[in-house]
Amino acid sequence: MAWTDEELVARSIGGDLDSFNQLVVRWQRPIYALAYRVIGREEDARDVCQETFLRAFRAIRGFKGQAKFSSWLYRITLNLCRDWMRRERRAPIAQAPEGVDLIELAAERDVGETVEDLISRRELTQAVARAMATLPEEQRTAIILKEYHGLTFQEIADLIDCPLSTVKTRLYQGLTVLRRQLAQAGIEHGHDHQSRL
């Protein structure tokens, strides 16, 4: 039976290194994904991810369980990302489209996907990354936490220390800007979310 985060945290506080490493294994990908989407650079995202766990390890005795362990990690990560952006004095990088390597593309294809479909998918990915990079940090962060990490409005509000209504406003504004940016990039509406009227 897998331990819960709370149990692993309690064991880690008791000095069980393996328990902390289980938390690392469990959360390293979401933390990396968060850092990558916020700052847009793979290598720096890895550094932020590593530093997040290092800080968490050092401070684990001070973690009293007032929030979820994942929220605590997210907070550390976002602070590190903010430090990074302040230090680098730059917005997230939207990586430029790269040359298309057909062999590489063929290896990335999903089952039943044509190369043309794959190229379209990659272009879409790059368009989304570029559009996200244009957003102000607070809107981008709200969208990332909501869309990719499934946090509730209240969890986001607690995490970034702002009122609930501010979270909703940032989400609305961010999505509106993205809609405009994607339309300018010639990206039509997706069909993943069916109308639920």
């Binding site: 999505l175 509406h189 997706g190």
Partner: protein, 259 residues
Amino acid sequence: MAMTIKAVCDNKDDLVAYLYDEVTPAEREAIKTHLAACAACRQEIDDLRGVRGRLASWPPPEPDLGFRVVRDTRAPARWSGWRAPAWGLGLAAAATLVLAAAAAVANLEVRYDEQGLTVRTGWRAPAAEPAPVAAAAVPAPTPVTAVTGEPWRADLQALEQRLRREIRTTPAQPVAAAAAVDQPAVLRQVSTLISESETRQERELALRVAQLVRDVDEQRRADWVRISQGFGRLENLTGAGVAQQREMMNYLMRVSQQR
């Protein structure tokens, strides 16, 4: 909850809450009712859903993340990951150390003056070549004044002499296996080998330094020739300009005299 059409149209927070389905059942029903009647809000919610659909197509890379915390006997715990090692810094320090050691061993002296670039290497006794005139005019300097400009050299010599004295006076440690060995002969042989090795290194270094000096000198001469040629061209240009100006003055004088 009483949610009027105007309230939903003006309050985008409600729309966002509905979009992410973080509403109570009553709120959901109220907004649904509104959307059925308001084309603008219906269009907006569809657009926002479309954006959400597109956001799903931005996966992060999947690097090989291999974090783990390991315990070290020297410290409470240390981090083991893939952070780039500080080998670059170490390499630079090592290179600096090697250069410094090489310069110290070779006793290099680099000087650039009106005589050009001069590189001298060691294995020459310091202050061993006093100019005959100076030696006659100035009282023989004491060892301290002779190295006033380089106090470390005197210290080094003193240290070297002390070490040599200590080595000579230190009795050989008894080694069981070496009882039958002729120690003075071995020492002489080792000393000879070291001496030969030093001589070879001296020659090689002297050769390389001579090559360096020659190369630098040739480069200096070539540079000087280029500079001289450049000045020559400038002078020619200036001379031509003066001649042209003089010709113009003469022409003006002629014209003015004719009038």
